[in-house]
């Protein structure tokens, strides 16, 4: 044992139910992080069996060990580091042969391994089963059947994995079937050559290295070239000879040979015959509907529309409760906490105003992630990409760009990560560049705050839809322009698996939503809390102690003036209070920063308050809401606190200004996290800077044109 904690890796095809197995092993006990250098999500968890602690890692789903994407590279690198105790290969039993293709590649490495046959229930529903004992004999490693979402199988799975580790069985050499074939002669010759140049303890790797080198794995070939030029030359020669002999590249011959092995194993272990028309019936029924020539696209758009309806119609009442809760919390604090001075202001205006202002949007954001997770798990997301590919290609994108875009409605950062499935770099960069235009969940609070201020109730839904639509249209136009100018490059090869329809497992969906909720709460508790405190300080200090006018005297004068009606009195008092508030705010740091920006942004209709809130939005979009909350909370009399932020905004801005603000929020610079993700995915500071500056310039131009034309009308 290398360390106290054993390290098991879960490896398997996409959609093989790996995450479900991971969840049943580690439960909610997962830690999500990133692999260093790339933004591939790294999921690790812990479980204990027989007093031994085991850490499991859910590697990204791959079809192949040859790295053609960031995910595959992560898998290849993690596996070839050798720093683990057991490979756990998850196989989707309902497609044994295809899944065995990866298993064979794993077996070639000759490292301790165990195989988990997942989703055996789906196979059995087809009237078939797998002879796991025979499979274990053929592969030479332990095999277990599992139905991942059944909690009863988790305990036996844990025991099985521990047992597999203790037995340390190395897989059989599966290529022996090809011993007399010409291709194999070349493989064994090269592996012999490599074996001679390797130190004794790693001689076991020779065969694997030979196959990888012949498949054209640049990383391995480069390593061989460094250690011995002759060896690299010999491999190149052998590959050239194979290509001229067979008329095919060694890579495709090796792949075909592997499939022959897989086919052989599948034949020997699959028992029973498929019941005629069992699964195809239900599968085709759904595809007949969703991919129908006439109905497919309308259904897609209807589903998207329903998604928004669901998120807003169901989320809004819940949001109302949250709002009421925070409002009563702060008025309760105000009433019981007499005096308190700055500290009270910090808690009530800074923390509750800032963090609470963002937390109220939790229900909406969770609803959105719920829908996205259901769409993904059910298998519909891939079909949406398939439906829209033709449409997307008009704009120089591919159907595979659609998935990141849909994810972008949740959060831009994972959306940028999701572009990894795009194989063409220019397509990928164009997609990343326009992704911030798909309004993320963080911008939702701003829209929900602002739209009711400026639109009559019946137009609110339309206004919200228009904002999203404007973003989408701008994104497509911009993508087309980018593809015509900066990122010309060819169309990517498009390849996409349409996974079988599956009913999303409630437990999995729940776990996913919980982890999203937790991430949002963490963000609220750290980044937004910190930003709120800083923004509160900036909106409070330096405090103007000597005011230019004696507002209290003016107020008293109004109150005592008997010639005025009560209504007139209140109106005058309000404007005096507003004047005082403006003077105090202008003196503070954020007032000054806002005023500085105001000169630049006033052509768009923004005043100092909005400008300073926009500054806050750079950290995270939601902070815009916090900042407005703080700016309007600070320096106000208790009498005014009864007025909601919306009412105050409605009082201070015209609908045209409001729309200009909405447009600016939609288009202008993405948040810090997005910029960082763009940088780490493209590895180019230039592109990240271009995204920030380009989008901000675009926002300025659009708002300028909109505001000035609207004013003229």
């Amino acid at each position: 044992m290398k360390s106290e904690v054993l390290r098991f890796l879960l490896v398997g095809n996409p959609n093989c139910g790996k995450s479900t197995i991971f969840n049943s092993l580690a439960g909610g006990n997962a830690h999500v992080g990133n692999y260093s250098g790339v933004t591939v999500e790294r999921k690790t968890g812990m479980f204990e069996v027989g007093g031994i602690k085991i850490s499991v890692e859910d590697l990204p789903g791959v079809y192949n060990m040859s790295p053609s994407s960031a995910e595959e590279e992560v898998v290849r690198d993690t596996l070839s580091s050798g720093d683990f105790d057991l490979i756990v290969n998850i196989i989707d039993s309902s497609n044994l042969e295809r899944n065995l293709f990866l298993t064979i590649q794993l077996a070639e490495m000759g490292l301790p391994m165990a195989v988990v046959l997942n989703m055996t229930d789906e196979l059995e529903a087809k009237g078939m089963s797998i002879d796991e004992k025979e499979l274990s004999r053929l592969l030479g490693v332990p095999v277990i059947k599992s139905v991942a979402y059944k909690s009863s199988s988790a305990a036996s799975l844990k025991l099985f994995l521990l047992d597999a580790f203790l037995k340390k069985r190395e897989p059989n050499f599966l290529w022996s079937k090809f011993k007399d074939k010409p291709l194999y002669a070349d493989v064994s010759q090269i592996s012999h050559l490599i074996g001679k140049s390797l130190p004794k303890e790693s001689a076991g790797w020779a065969h694997w290295l030979a196959i990888r080198a012949m498949e054209g794995d640049k990383f391995i070939i480069e390593k061989i070239r460094v250690s011995s030029k002759e060896l690299a030359g010999a491999i190149e020669f052998a590959c050239g000879k194979i290509e001229s002999d067979f008329g095919e590249t060694p890579a495709s011959l090796i792949a075909a040979a592997r499939f022959k092995i897989a086919n052989d194993i599948a034949k020997k272990t699959l028992l029973g015959e498929p019941l005629k028309n069992q699964r195809p019936k239900e599968l085709y029924f759904l595809d007949k509907l969703f991919l129908n020539k006439y109905l497919g696209l309308p259904i897609f758009f209807a589903l998207m529309f329903l998604t928004f309806q669901f998120v807003f119609a169901l989320g809004d009442p819940l949001m109302g409760y949250m709002e009421d809760f925070f409002a009563s919390l702060s008025s309760w604090l105000n009433s019981v906490w007499s005096g308190g001075g700055f500290f009270k202001s910090l808690v009530v205006d800074g923390v509750i105003g800032g963090v609470g202002g963002v937390l109220v949007f939790l229900p909406n954001i969770l609803m959105l992630f719920l829908v996205l997770s259901v769409l993904e798990d059910s298998g519909y997301m891939a079909r949406a990409a398939f439906l829209c590919d033709r449409l997307m290609r008009r704009f120089g994108l591919s159907g595979a760009s659609l998935i990141p875009m849909l994810v972008g409605f949740g959060c831009t950062v994972p959306a940028i990560m999701a572009t990894r499935s795009l194989k063409s770099r220019s397509e990928r960069i164009a997609t990343i560049m326009v992704l911030p235009l798909f309004s993320c969940g963080s911008r939702l609070p701003i829209y929900i705050l602002l739209i009711p201020c400026f639109f009559a109730e019946k137009y609110r839904g339309v206004a919200m839809f228009c904002i999203y639509l404007t973003g989408i249209i701008l994104a497509f136009v911009l993508a087309k322009l980018l593809r015509l100018s900066f990122f010309k490059g060819a169309d990517s090869s498009f390849v996409l698996e349409l996974p079988a329809y599956r009913f999303p497992r409630p437990y999995n969906t729940l776990l996913q939503i919980c982890s999203r909720a937790w991430a949002f709460l963490k963000k609220a508790g750290t980044l937004i809390l910190g930003a709120s405190i800083i923004l509160w300080a900036a909106a409070t200090f330096p405090e103007k102690t000597v005011l230019q006018k004696d507002y209290d005297a003016m107020l008293a004068e109004v109150q005592n003036n008997a010639s005025l009606s009560e209504e007139k009195k209140a109106e005058l008092a309000n404007s005096i209070l507003g004047e005082r508030r403006a003077e105090i705010f202008d003196y503070t740091l954020s007032g000054r920063a806002g005023r500085f920006l105001e000169t630049a942004l006033s052509p768009l209709g923004f005043d100092a308050k909005i400008s300073s809130a926009l500054l806050g939005a750079i950290a995270a979009k939601e902070v815009f809401v916090s900042q407005l909350g703080i700016v309007y909370g600070v320096g106000e009399g208790d009498a005014e606190n009864s007025m909601s932020l919306r009412e105050k905004l409605e009082r201070d801005y015209t609908p045209i200004q409001g729309m200009s603000i909405l447009l600016f929020i939609l288009i202008s610079m993405p948040c810090i996290a997005t910029v960082a993700a763009t940088y780490s995915e493209t590895r180019s500071a230039m592109l990240a800077a271009m995204q920030v500056l380009g989008l901000t310039a675009l926002a300025y131009a659009v708002c300028f044109i909109f505001y000035n034309i609207a004013l003229m009308l």
């Binding site: 792949a255 033709r390 698996e497």
Partner: protein, 223 residues
């Protein structure tokens, strides 16, 4: 090697098979392993090994691991080849369950002699291989010169073919291979997207979507 192998009893042939399978799995073969695997007593193993050693098929000394001689290896692999072929015939052509196929194959492998086996093998391969009817089948490069070869893009919805060649213009061969698009795979055009492109292919039990332009890089023989 045209000469007929010496005749062995069914029992002794089983011993040869077991010795070969243990040695390919574990490297060394001990008499105790054989006894366990065949579910017989140690003395029977010893007597069988002695008689095999007398025929020059195994090397055996008391208390030492057993190994097959060159002759013995040939004999054993000829039996296991027969077994595999019979099994393939029962499962793939007759559709018999694997366990039942094994049971019957275990008996038949002993009574089929080599010349009958060759004829039988030719017959089975002719049925399982879709190219069997082709006159240039088995010749070098036959996929490239196949008279029936067409581009996958010419097939209509519902038609299927066997992949003969995958052109490098498709891009990363390994990436497509992982999804089952390799020489020898059967592909079927399952459906076309509402807007006319891309298409869904059924291949190796999965549904893969490719663009029509990509189908031009794949050569198939329609089936």
């Amino acid at each position: 090697m045209a000469k007929e192998r010496q005749k062995l009893s069914e029992n002794l042939e089983d011993y040869l098979e077991v010795i070969q399978s243990i040695s390919s799995r574990e490297g060394t073969v001990r008499p105790s392993d054989i006894a366990r695997e065949m579910k017989v007593k140690r003395p029977s193993v010893t007597s069988a090994l002695n008689s095999l050693a007398a025929k020059g098929l195994v090397e055996y000394e008391k208390y030492k691991p057993v190994s097959l001689t060159k002759n013995g290896q040939e004999h054993a692999s000829s039996i296991s080849k027969k077994h595999a072929l019979l099994r393939e015939f029962f499962t793939d052509i007759l559709g018999v369950q694997a366990s039942e196929a094994d049971l019957v194959a275990c008996k038949m492998e002993h009574i089929m002699d080599d010349s009958l086996m060759r004829k039988f093998s030719k017959f089975v391969k002719g049925i399982t291989n879709p190219c069997a009817s082709c006159p240039s089948f088995g010749e070098k490069d036959c996929a490239r010169h196949c008279k029936h070869a067409v581009l996958l893009s010419t097939l209509k919805t519902g038609e299927a073919g066997i992949i003969l060649a995958v052109d490098k213009s498709l891009g990363d061969v390994a990436c497509f291979a992982g999804m089952g698009i390799v020489i020898g795979s059967r592909v079927e055009i399952a459906r076309v997207a509402p807007l006319g492109d891309p298409v869904v292919l059924k291949v190796r039990g999965a549904e893969i979507s490719l663009r029509k332009s990509q189908l031009k890089s794949i050569t198939v023989k329609p089936v």
